[in-house]
């Protein structure tokens, strides 16, 4: 990502942001609300179209065209704060729709793949249920499994635990830790600093649409350089 800027009307959500993420790298993005974290990762899969700068995925520069869309569809998965499961489809259908329709998989293959990922997020027994019958934590795990069924190279997480009741946060984080350990490239917007400390290779701190700090995890927590970042950490870390 090179010098990427994004405007919402006259408001500048991203101000010339540059960041490189290696294959297999785990990046945690944090910062106060409205700092542009979500916009940053939403630009990566073009849910928001960037206005300036360039984004390159696996050697393909993203333009607003079909080929770029294909690159995104082939490589990037995303998990949302609000889960965004398809409420009218069963858990299994939520998982298999993508593989069947856009990967050309047979229903049988897709079902097997889906069950495999449901095992991995530890809720295979919920396959026949509808999203509304599951708890928040279970829904988010289904959402993670849905993304994994597309076998992406990069996973984006947009505050995946922020809409969850506290007792459900860990079941989702556990799944994410496992995913990180399996070598998945992850870019994760979250306020879960324990999780960040545990899995992140790189910490990115954003404020006012800019990347203030982009450093390895140990250094970030021990000796953050900028004052704003120090303040932020003091505010959110447990006393």
């Amino acid at each position: 990502m090179q010098s990427v800027s994004k405007f919402f009307g006259s408001f500048q959500a991203l101000n010339s942001v540059s960041i490189d993420v290696r294959l297999g790298e785990r990046v945690v993005v944090c910062g106060p609300s409205g700092s542009g974290k979500s916009t940053l990762i939403r630009c990566i899969n073009q849910l928001e179209k960037h206005d300036e700068g360039s984004i390159t995925i696996d050697g393909h520069p993203l333009q607003h065209n079909k080929k770029s869309l294909q690159v995104i569809h082939d490589n990037i998965g995303m998990v949302f704060q609000q889960f965004n499961l398809f409420p009218h489809l069963s858990v299994l259908d939520n998982l298999t729709l993508g593989p069947i329709r856009s990967r050309g998989m047979s229903k049988k293959q897709a079902n097997e793949l889906a069950m495999q990922y449901l095992e991995r997020v530890r809720i295979p027994e919920q396959a026949a249920k509808y999203p509304s019958q599951l708890s928040g934590g279970q829904q988010q795990r289904v959402a993670i499994a849905r993304s994994l069924c597309m076998e992406p190279k990069i996973m984006l997480f947009d505050e995946p635990t922020s809409a969850l009741d506290p007792e459900m946060i860990n079941e989702v984080l556990d799944v994410m830790v496992e995913l990180a350990e399996s070598g998945m490239t992850m870019i994760c917007v979250t306020h879960e600093m324990g999780f960040a400390r545990r899995v992140a290779d790189t910490m990115v701190f954003m404020d006012h649409g800019q990347i203030i700090e982009n450093t390895n995890t140990a250094k970030f927590f021990d000796s953050p350089e900028s004052e704003r970042c120090q303040e932020f950490l003091q505010q959110i870390l447990p006393h």
């Binding site: 995303m78 856009s102 849905r146």
Partner: protein, 246 residues
């Protein structure tokens, strides 16, 4: 609903006791009454066929008009607005007359009474269907489109598998309303000679001179038909509710 029907029936029967009524024209126990009654009911098939064909076509046109209206493209949006505003402004009776007498001349084709009726009703209603679909689709959360994007679905698949199934469930009551409306408006097609319920009643009135009784029967025919439709729509709503189990 059954209560409404019952009260209406009772009211009609009670007033029938007054000397002004002459139910003999449709008394099923006399051969003449039976013949008349059969004659009146013989329009039922056409009324239903006309309305159902028209509503199906109008739903298809409505959807095709609604989708451009949701686009960010100004031209497509303009098409949607223009269609809706123009078609909505034409009175149904005028539309029926124009399609039956005007359109054949314009295109130098012949159109049967039935198809003229279907086209006129479908066109008239399509503008309303378009607005219903647009509102229904707009009511679906943006996150559904985003999630669909993350599982690599294109526009057509997103609409077909994600957005429309949810939108249709929400607009089902409104679609039911339109079907009821269509059944009623189909009576207007009698003016171009369509042999449906209203036309039959008109013809019988001319020969029997008993407008009160005959039109009362006509009124009841529509009432029963529409109560059946309402019940059907409610059944469908309940079914979708349990299907989706939200």
């Amino acid at each position: 609903m059954t209560r409404v029907l019952f009260i209406t029936l009772m009211a009609v029967l009670l007033s029938a006791c007054s000397s002004d009524w002459g139910w003999y024209v449709v008394n099923p126990t006399t051969p003449k009454g039976m013949t008349n009654l059969k004659f009146l009911l013989s329009g039922l098939g056409y009324t239903v066929l006309l309305s159902v064909t028209a509503i199906v076509i109008s739903i298809i046109i409505g959807l095709l008009v609604a989708l451009p209206g949701l686009s960010k493209n100004r031209l497509l949006k303009g098409f949607n607005r223009t269609y809706v505003e123009l078609v909505r402004a034409v009175p149904i009776l005028v539309m029926i007359l124009w399609v039956y007498y005007g359109l054949p001349q314009l295109l130098s084709v012949t159109i049967t009474v039935f198809w003229a009726g279907v086209i006129a009703l479908a066109l008239s209603d399509s503008a309303f269907e378009a607005e219903i679909f647009r509102a229904g689709i707009q009511s679906i959360d943006k996150g559904q489109y985003e999630a669909s994007h993350t599982v690599a679905l294109g526009y057509v698949d997103t609409m077909r598998f994600i957005i429309l199934p949810q939108a249709i469930k929400r607009i089902l009551p409104a679609l039911g309303n339109q079907l009821v409306y269509m059944l009623k408006m189909s009576s207007l097609v009698s003016v171009i000679g369509m042999q449906e319920l209203t036309r039959k009643a008109n013809e019988l009135v001319v020969t029997e001179y008993r407008p009160l009784e005959i039109y009362t029967i006509l009124l009841l025919e529509y009432l029963v038909l529409i109560l059946i439709v309402s019940a059907g729509v409610r059944w469908l709503e309940r079914r979708m509710e349990t299907d989706i189990a939200r």
